[in-house]
């Protein structure tokens, strides 16, 4: 009998890039098949081809032995292919059911749909209220909406693009149960992730891509995570070395920082207290939407606090604007790369100027020094191995991982006294993530205080000296990395217990 999905010699070239060359593999019924590769290895192009978003130059695809040439995603869905994207396409202001309706070609009547959503959700252990507004859902619940949206089409092939990067350990466990249940029903699942441990526990087979080519196929459970990573990049990875941490002088203090958010779907910060020392890497764990963005904006100066709530070294800076904080040595790198940390339409040189202006002296009496600016941008590109034709290329033209390296590198190269980064390796491949983590550790070793906000517990485990958890706008007292188990942190991330603890305190 023919395979569920058979890929034969798929080839796709973009101007200047061979995104996929002659990739072949097959997906069996009831198999979870991992696609592993660095950013730019060709994973996205490959799954986009299967989902009908990209037309291949050469090669064929077969479903059940029948040739499959989807002209667009509708055709792919009609053939039983469904995809859960890494970035959700949901409208905050609409309900779950309304959001799901939007993606359907022929939506059934509202009441039937609500019932079907409940049925599917319950059948797969994904509790979901169709009438809830998406803006009030956690990231994990939003992902459920996307998954349920796919399951309503009864897909035979499900593509999942980095599904766990935003989930708590408990949510990951729930997701895996759902995926295993689907596998038992004969659905073939293509699973893209950069978390190698997950792939080892969940996936039956892994196809490894590098530079658009398939370089290996293996059974992930039989390999170590390190072996998988090395197959993926073809060279040995640098690993940050564990080291002893002796806290230096206090660099950044937050005192009872409470800020009401202006965003209707945001989270208010409630009495956040924090002390960051020289040489310390403080990891802040938490599920997205629990006040991370608000905390970040308050520290960067994009939202103002009262003067005394934020103290940098010995100066009260709560009232200062971002540029003044930056000049003093308090640097930040927000989570959203395009549109917040960088302007997509502008060149890398311009984007280097964006935060580097004052500390790198890139202007003379307000006039931009083009040569110094380009040199600074080049230094970032070189040090962090940003793949780009040049610093005149627009930020948008870079892949997510490359832009992330640029954005983080831009701040690191300015020798900050305090650096706050939000999701430094979100959507970044293993190699780039290792580069970024090592650079952060090195920076801390030179005496910088660093706050890493991340939803990836493994990452925080790897680089932090101390860890605290943010839930519902409150920050827990930091604990030494290693004194808490993942389960304990996971429970704190869930929130309510933490809040109850605060109420008792």
């Amino acid at each position: 009998m023919s395979e569920l999905l058979d890929i034969r010699g798929l080839t796709k070239a973009y101007p200047g890039v061979q995104a996929n060359s002659a990739i072949s593999f097959s997906l069996k019924r009831g198999e979870i098949h991992a696609l592993l590769g660095e950013n730019g290895a060709g994973k996205s192009t490959l799954v986009k081809t299967i989902y009908g978003l990209v037309k291949p130059d050469l090669g064929q695809m077969f479903i059940d032995g029948t040739q499959f040439e989807p002209a667009n995603p509708q055709a792919a869905r009609a053939a039983g292919v469904a995809m859960v994207f890494q970035h959700f396409s949901l409208f905050d202001a609409l309900t779950v059911a309304e959001n799901i309706t939007l993606g359907m070609a022929n939506p059934p009547p509202r009441r039937d749909l609500a019932q079907r959503i409940r049925d599917v959700a319950n059948a797969y252990g994904l509790p979901l209220d169709p009438e809830r507004r998406v803006g009030t859902l956690s990231v994990g619940e939003r992902q459920r909406v996307e998954i349920v949206r796919c399951l309503l089409q009864s897909p035979r092939i499900l593509i999942m693009d980095e599904p766990t990067s935003v989930l708590t350990p408990q949510e990951v466990a729930t997701l895996f149960q759902t995926l295993r249940q689907l596998r038992a029903e004969g659905v073939g699942i293509l699973y893209i992730s950069h978390k190698l441990e997950e792939i080892r526990t969940l996936c039956d087979t892994a196809t490894i891509l590098r530079n658009g080519r398939k370089v290996a196929e293996c059974t992930p459970a039989e390999q170590t995570a390190h072996q998988l990573a090395e197959m993926m990049i073809g060279i040995e990875l640098e690993r940050p070395l564990p080291r002893l941490f002796t806290p230096g002088e206090t660099l950044l203090t937050l005192r009872d920082l409470s800020i009401a958010t202006e965003d209707p779907f945001g989270t208010d910060l409630r009495e956040v207290n924090l002390q960051l020392h020289a040489g310390e890497v403080l990891g802040i764990a938490g599920v997205a939407g629990n006040g991370q963005d608000e905390l970040m904006l308050a520290i960067s100066g994009e939202t103002k606090a009262t003067r005394s709530q934020i103290v940098f070294e010995t100066t009260q800076i709560g009232h200062l604007a971002p540029a003044e904080r930056r000049l003093r040595g308090l640097l930040t790198a927000p989570e959203e790369r395009l549109g917040h940390a960088a302007a997509g339409e502008m060149s890398l040189a311009d984007n280097a100027f964006l935060t580097g202006r004052k500390r790198q002296r890139l202007d003379w009496k307000g006039f931009i020094k083009p040569i110094s600016t380009a040199n600074f941008a080049r230094a970032i590109v070189k040090r962090f191995d940003v793949r780009t034709p040049g610093v005149e290329a627009s930020a948008r033209s870079l892949s997510g991982g490359n832009l992330q390296k640029f954005v983080i590198g831009r701040e690191i190269l300015q020798r900050p006294k305090v650096l706050v980064v939000n999701q430094p390796t979100w959507g970044v491949d293993a190699h780039a993530a290792a580069t970024i983590r090592t650079a952060l550790r090195d920076l801390a070793a030179s005496g910088t205080g660093i706050i890493v906000i991340s939803q990836d517990l493994d990452e925080l485990r790897e680089i932090s000296d101390t860890i605290s958890v943010i839930a519902a706008g409150r920050l827990s007292t930091p604990a030494r990395n290693g004194s808490l188990t993942n389960e304990e942190i996971g429970l704190m991330m869930g929130g309510p217990k933490e809040e109850a603890a605060h109420a008792h305190a």
């Binding site: 009908g52 978003l53 667009n72 995603p73 509708q74 994207f85 396409s89 993606g103 070609a105 949206r149 960067s300 100066g301 994009e302 604007a321 971002p322 540029a323 003044e324 930056r326 930040t332 927000p334 959203e336 395009l338 549109g339 917040h340 940390a341 960088a342 302007a343 997509g344 339409e345 502008m346 311009d350 100027f353 964006l354 935060t355 202006r357 202007d363 307000g366 006039f367 931009i368 083009p370």
Partner: protein, 354 residues
């Protein structure tokens, strides 16, 4: 269903959209004239070609293009940052009123300082008028498009009231107009037997200055940043309110300057008919010029051509005056339409879920 998907057009293609828009306007305009029972080829020739070969029209081109270029250059700052000043016409009028009032106050006084003083007063007037929408926007989040637009009508009435009252020519038989400005309050003529005045080289200088600021200065950088990614601008430390005030202020001051130049130049006095729509036409100029200083210079000549050619066509072909406004409107319409076609590709069918 048709959907638009983003599509990256090369810089050359983007540069040529204004040219396509002009050609399409000629074509559609020709059709319009045909429907009016006129010879389309002749009409287009009169509007677009003849003024270039007549010495008088040629010098008039500069006179019409200069205020357009000055106003549009000011507007381009705000338009790049996403601050929409639609009321340049009102700021133009206030500039003429304030500058003109200074000129009248110094009536009969000879001195080289009178004109610079008028220019400063005019810029202050335009600036102050633009501060009304700026303040309402930053304080109360009132839409600056509506406020600045509505203030045009207030300004028009203010001008009428002033030239019928306080600023009226005492020896003018009660006509609603001011005195003729005396020599020291009139822009010097640079080329004899034409009306080419000193405001024209100043328009060029303003254009060069704007280029320098937009290309090389942090302020220009922040303007572009705010237009391209408002949150990134905020992250860089740009205050939105400050930018709104500055952008409206610059465009107001420049529109005001153009207003003084018009009053102290070709017109020579304050009259209710002083505003002829430069403030609105400048919006078209700004977009036709791609919001680039050099492009704006070019576009100001194109629009000046339609104004002068349109006037000729009015009396030689008896085309209604409104036809020229339609013509200019079509230009903006086609420009925006062609912009869509260069920035997006049209696809048949429903967009994917992504």
């Amino acid at each position: 269903m048709l959907t638009l998907e983003p599509h990256r057009a090369g810089p050359v293609k983007q540069l040529f959209t204004p040219v396509w828009a002009i050609l399409a306007t000629m074509l559609a305009g020709g059709l319009l004239f045909l429907l009016l029972g006129k010879n389309p080829v002749e009409a287009i020739r009169i509007i677009f070609v003849d003024p270039l070969f007549d010495p008088f029209s040629r010098s008039e081109l500069f006179i019409k293009a200069a205020p357009l270029a000055i106003i549009a250059t000011g507007l381009s700052f705000g338009f790049r940052a996403g601050v929409w000043n639609i009321g340049a016409e009102g700021q133009f009028i206030l500039g003429a009123i304030c500058g003109g009032a200074v000129g009248l106050a110094f009536y009969g006084v000879e001195g080289v300082y009178v004109l610079p003083l008028m220019a400063l007063a005019g810029m202050a007037g335009g600036f102050a008028w633009a501060m009304i929408p700026a303040l309402l926007r930053t304080r109360f989040n009132a839409n600056e498009i509506l406020v600045s637009l509505m203030l045009v009508y207030v300004a028009t009435l203010l001008l009428s009231a002033l030239v019928s009252g306080p600023l009226r020519d005492p020896d003018g038989f009660n006509f609603p107009e001011s005195r003729q400005f005396h020599d020291s309050a009139t822009l010097p003529i640079l080329i004899e037997r034409t009306r080419i005045h000193i405001g024209i080289p100043i328009a060029f200088l303003i254009s060069v200055g704007a280029w320098l600021i937009l290309q090389r200065h942090v302020f220009g950088f922040h303007i572009k940043l705010m237009g391209a990614a408002p949150r990134a601008a905020h992250f860089a430390g740009v205050s939105t309110n400050r930018m709104v005030v500055l952008c409206l202020g610059i465009s107001g001051a420049l529109a005001g300057l153009a207003g003084v130049f018009e009053a102290a130049g070709p017109v020579g006095q304050l009259v209710p008919s002083l505003p002829t729509g430069y403030g609105f036409t400048a919006i078209i100029v700004a977009f036709l010029g791609r919001l680039q200083p050099l492009g704006i210079l070019f576009a100001s000549f194109v629009l000046a051509l339609t104004i002068i050619g349109g006037e000729t066509a009015q009396f030689s072909l008896q085309i209604p005056a409104a036809a020229i406004s339609v013509f200019q409107g079509m230009l903006l319409f086609f420009l925006l339409a062609f912009d869509i076609f260069t920035r997006f590709r049209i696809r048949r069918g429903v967009a994917g879920v992504a």
